[in-house]
Symmetry: C3
Subunit: 336 residues, 3 copies
């Protein structure tokens, strides 16, 4: 795909070579995210960080990514806007807001809204999550994390063994990750969930049609034995018709250090899209895993900044210039 000036709305836009391009640029961004250098390549550019549904971490991650490239961020959080409440169309909102900035990141509670917005926008739009539909930068950062974690073991995504665990029916992130994995070779997936929350058949069929092996299971212990990645997810309470229904499933698959030691092969990498539910009633990933060096969940969050920097750099066509605008860092950066 031609990234220059493109909207990034769906992971369906990405071919394998596009993903590899994003990851190569993300790698290039690491010294800036680690504050080994500063770049000012986007000095004077403005990101419209339009979060019509709240999401602190995604919003701040996009905003920091843009700041790290030297740009400014204007933003909105939640439906403060009386405009939409006053009956304004997404078309109008897009025409107006896109006159203010150089690129827009948008989150909105309705599926399809970001695509509709992007079609009317005069500047590139990056989907920061449109309800139950897509969240492409999350899928990319998940896959980028898998790539980096495997690379440390001289492995590649081709041939990956991954268990996806939890609410696979509603989990937007695992759906998107499956679609990205289809672009690679010989992935072996184990889908671990209660039958009622199983991965949609359409996705399983697509994976198999693309030549990947898919095992469906509701037995966590039996599924962990030979995985490179154990990808746990949260019960998407807000997608159930009632709290009671959601509670039926919370806490069904709990991964903790004892389970890990007993059932996982050494160095199985643990991932989760975050936030993890640390309340006793859920406890998908126990805090006793926090000292486990294979717990990659915070490296995932860090990788999100790199992937978002890469998307901005590609869409605004500055990937080749980032290093030309580099400067030394003046301040002490503690990274404890």
């Amino acid at each position: 795909m031609d990234f220059k000036g493109a909207n990034i709305v769906s992971i369906g836009q990405f071919q394998r070579e596009d993903i590899e391009r994003v990851f190569a640029v993300a790698d290039q961004m690491e010294p800036y995210a680690l504050r080994q250098k500063v770049t000012r390549v986007l000095e004077g550019a403005i990101l419209g960080n339009m979060f019509f549904e709240p999401s602190t971490r995604t919003r701040v991650s996009f905003g920091c990514a843009f700041n790290l490239l030297g740009g400014e961020v204007r933003e909105t959080t939640g439906f403060e806007s009386s405009a939409i409440a006053k009956g304004e169309s997404l078309y109008d909102t897009a025409r107006v807001l896109s006159g203010y900035s150089d690129v827009i990141c948008m989150r909105h509670p309705e599926a399809g809204s970001v695509g509709e917005f992007a079609a009317a926008s005069r500047v590139p739009v990056i989907n920061g999550g449109d309800g139950p539909n897509e969240h492409p930068s999350q899928a990319l950062l998940d896959l980028y994390t898998i790539k980096k974690e495997l690379a440390a073991k001289q492995r590649s995504i081709d041939g990956l063994r991954i268990a996806m665990i939890g609410d696979l029916k509603h989990g937007r992130t695992v759906h998107s990750l499956c679609k990205l994995l289809m672009l690679f070779s010989n992935v072996q997936l184990t889908m671990v969930s209660p039958p009622e929350l199983a991965m949609p058949e359409g996705i399983v069929d697509q994976l198999r049609a693309a030549g990947h092996a898919v095992v469906v299971s509701d037995d966590l212990a039996a599924s962990l034995g030979d995985q490179d990645i154990a990808y746990a997810t949260r019960i998407q309470e807000e997608r159930f018709s009632s709290q009671e229904e959601a509670d039926l499933y919370r806490g069904r698959f709990r991964l903790n250090q004892a389970v890990y030691t007993q059932f996982c092969k050494p160095n199985t990498v643990i991932m989760h899209p975050l936030p993890r539910d640390s309340r006793e009633s859920a406890n998908e990933l126990d805090n006793d895993l926090n000292q486990n060096p294979n717990l990659a969940i915070f490296r995932q969050a860090d990788n999100g900044v790199l992937v978002r920097m890469a998307l901005f750099a590609l869409v605004l066509d500055v990937a080749d210039q980032v290093d030309k605008h580099a400067r030394p860092v003046n301040w002490y950066h503690r990274r404890g």
Copy 2:
């Protein structure tokens, strides 16, 4: 008026020469807003963008305008502040907040609040809307749009023919626009509204006293025939005592492509302060006008950035320096 260090609270402060000065500086800002150049003239300056009443577009427009001049923006949205809830006076709020920034843009739900705040502020204050009272940058951007749209036809504001349509009783923007138009010559205004929502007589009288022709009508079709500008407005639902009362008037004057073709002279420019209500029940300006090149509503929004850049540049006395701090643009700016 001496702009340097001034508060911009009311359009009553402006003489014709002041307006022309603002517009000249706004013209000068266009290459920056179009990202043909970047300027850093306000690098290190801080805008306090204090929106005690939410308004995404106005807030973001002011913020982007300041960023485009190189400055930083700190802001607040809504009555998050517990201070006012704790009984703090506007005087105290102004004394404190004005110690933080170089200029303040303030929106507040109460008429007169911004003037009271400005009187106590130690730095210049620009009124971003004080309830039903004033919103001077909106009036200026409306008039600036009229100037630019007419200039494309080798016309000037003097001699303008304009129809104002809709809720002319509560519409803050049309009241302010009338007051600005009084400063020009020989304007012909047609006020189209239900009688209950007519333009206040005081304003009509002032216009006539200043030598302008005013026709009052409740017949849209008959009023569109020979206008340069058709300025539509929204029913200000929040100003009515009940939704039911507001609903009586919603949708009374609908402008769409068929009406435009049948009744308007060619190239009549369509304006609206936005947001327009695109719900079926209102539909003041139909979406089928979106491809009509005379629909100027999004150019209005774009012009708002230029006018706000101009106000900041004048108040902070950097209009003459903007170009000295210009740099090339590093990134690809798509303006679709």
Copy 3:
């Protein structure tokens, strides 16, 4: 203390020499806050300004302080975050958010929360207020104000005579100020409150054990006679079990120009942590004091920016570099 990379969570961390170091750096910041110069020493650095409890003035003050050093600010206001609502632990929030920025300022409604967050954070954390517990930058700015006000009279903090007035039981700021004053010599404190809202005995005992003189009184007039500083506080309504209970105490100790003239010695400096409650029912500090040159409450707010700039400069270890990155100011800065 070694400021480089440190968390600033409690005023208990500070020794006298640390306070003097903060104040020396704060003094150095004044030309930047007054816009006599601009510095860009933190250009490229990011502050995560995480306000999980709203506080416009503290949030904006921290944000402006960081901008004045050249850095960028990403922020959150209130519990917009669904993450904590979804059961995320403070540990996880801290691990994630600290991956985005170079330093975090955090406010949170629960006592101890900021310390817990700081322990998990990978970058330095400054406590912006953790509920009823601590607000160290407020205590520092109060003491810095006392130092500056006394210095104008060739006096030092040692030997200070101060009356603290109002709700001394719940007032976080006066508790913290007392703890800082313990580090100095021979302070004479008069604690003026209704008996039910008296300064906690533990603090009084500590002050006396440290060699300071403490008088406890509920008679305002009799207490004002020979003070250098009269420090008034607000009834902390939100700490009472009911509004009715709070109302019993509101307005008990009102300081106005008549009281000042009759009972205070000339040039007694009036302080208040702000916001002051200007409603008739409370009116702790009457507006008729606004023209009294000894009313230092807005100088306090201004000093807050200096102290916060100093904390950032020390924690990020750039105090020595600030002046090296100085530039002239391009714009007109009115400070009325």
